[in-house]
């Protein structure tokens, strides 16, 4: 933190601000910026009006393989990979831009933004060790899969959705209500 230029710090604060506004947890901010923990805590409290949630990030790699989360995270990672391949964006800036484009898609399509920024960040850290992207043998799209799995004949969840795919608990309980009402 010592001998740091004010301009650099300004840039870092702007980056941290953007990440906090998108919902980043403290661990994300500590990794993606070189600001001190104390400074980040103050910034977080100032922007959100409350202390950041404490404790470990609860996210497991398996979450990204559940049907609906897999569609959302695959879309996010495809946008991210597109930006890294075709623009100069890297690191946290690529994360922010692809996450914004993901949110935009979700909004336009009337979907729930089930992938949070912190989860998206976690996903980037899992890629290459626990997870990888594989091509669907039917549609050719790139999807998140376990690294250990044998993925040569992989078929994505959109080409072959499970029978209960996309049915939320709410819809399921409504369906139960309907059945009960009909009795």
């Amino acid at each position: 933190m010592r001998n740091k230029s004010v301009v650099t710090e300004g840039v870092e604060i702007r980056l941290a601000t953007e990440l906090i506004e998108l919902g980043a947890r403290l661990q994300v901010l500590e990794t993606e910026t070189s600001l001190s923990r104390e400074r980040l805590l103050n910034l977080y409290k100032e922007l959100k009006g409350e202390s950041p949630p404490k404790g470990m990030l609860p996210y497991s790699a398996d979450w990204f393989l559940i049907w609906q989360p897999n569609v959302h995270s695959s879309l996010f990672i495809d946008i991210y990979n597109y930006l890294v391949a075709h623009t100069d964006l890297r690191g946290a800036h690529a994360l922010i831009k692809s996450y914004r484009l993901y949110l935009e898609h979700v909004q336009v399509c009337n979907l729930e933004p089930i992938l949070t920024l912190t989860r998206a960040w976690t996903l980037l850290r899992f890629l290459g060790n626990l997870l990888e992207t594989v091509s669907c043998s039917r549609c050719g799209g790139h999807f998140i899969a376990h690294r250990q799995d044998i993925n040569s004949d992989y078929v994505c969840g959109l080409c072959r959705p499970p029978s209960r795919a996309g049915k939320s608990k709410k819809q399921a309980s409504e369906a139960t209500q309907d059945i009960l009402a009909a009795l």
């Binding site: 569609v71 959302h72 695959s74 879309l75 495809d78 946008i79 990979n81 597109y82 930006l83 075709h86 623009t87 100069d88 964006l89 831009k97 914004r100 484009l101 898609h105 336009v108 399509c109 979907l111 549609c139 050719g140 799209g141 790139h142 999807f143 959109l158 080409c159 959705p161 795919a165 996309g166 049915k167």
Partner: protein
């Protein structure tokens, strides 16, 4: 629609497309590269076109923007019509992100 109406409509669409593309690139180049599906180099060229050049480019008998979906995707979208659980728009977005960009030859 007679031919002259059609040519007029093509010119209008070309003009709208080029102007929108320029606006998007100037506003946020990275996002525009994603949305338009063009390379950064092509985006720079588009953004630098003068109003006169845009007008001359638009005045032609062919469309300047191209269909970005391949047959398989169109088929997939059509067959999943009416089934909201298939998330066809998300599927389309995933496939589009994996396609190569339009580049300068």
């Amino acid at each position: 629609m007679n031919t002259s109406d059609m040519l007029e409509a093509i010119k209008d669409l070309n003009l709208t497309y080029l102007m929108l593309a320029q606006h998007m690139i100037r506003e946020d180049k990275s996002a525009a590269v994603y949305r338009l599906g063009v390379s950064q180099e092509l985006a720079d060229v588009l953004a630098d076109l003068t109003a006169g050049q845009v007008l001359r480019m638009a005045r032609t008998n062919v469309l300047l923007c191209r269909m970005r979906f391949d047959d398989r995707l169109i088929l997939g979208l059509l067959t999943s019509h009416g089934n909201e659980n298939m998330m066809p728009q998300s599927h389309a977005a995933i496939l589009l992100s994996g396609q190569p960009v339009e580049e300068l030859a």
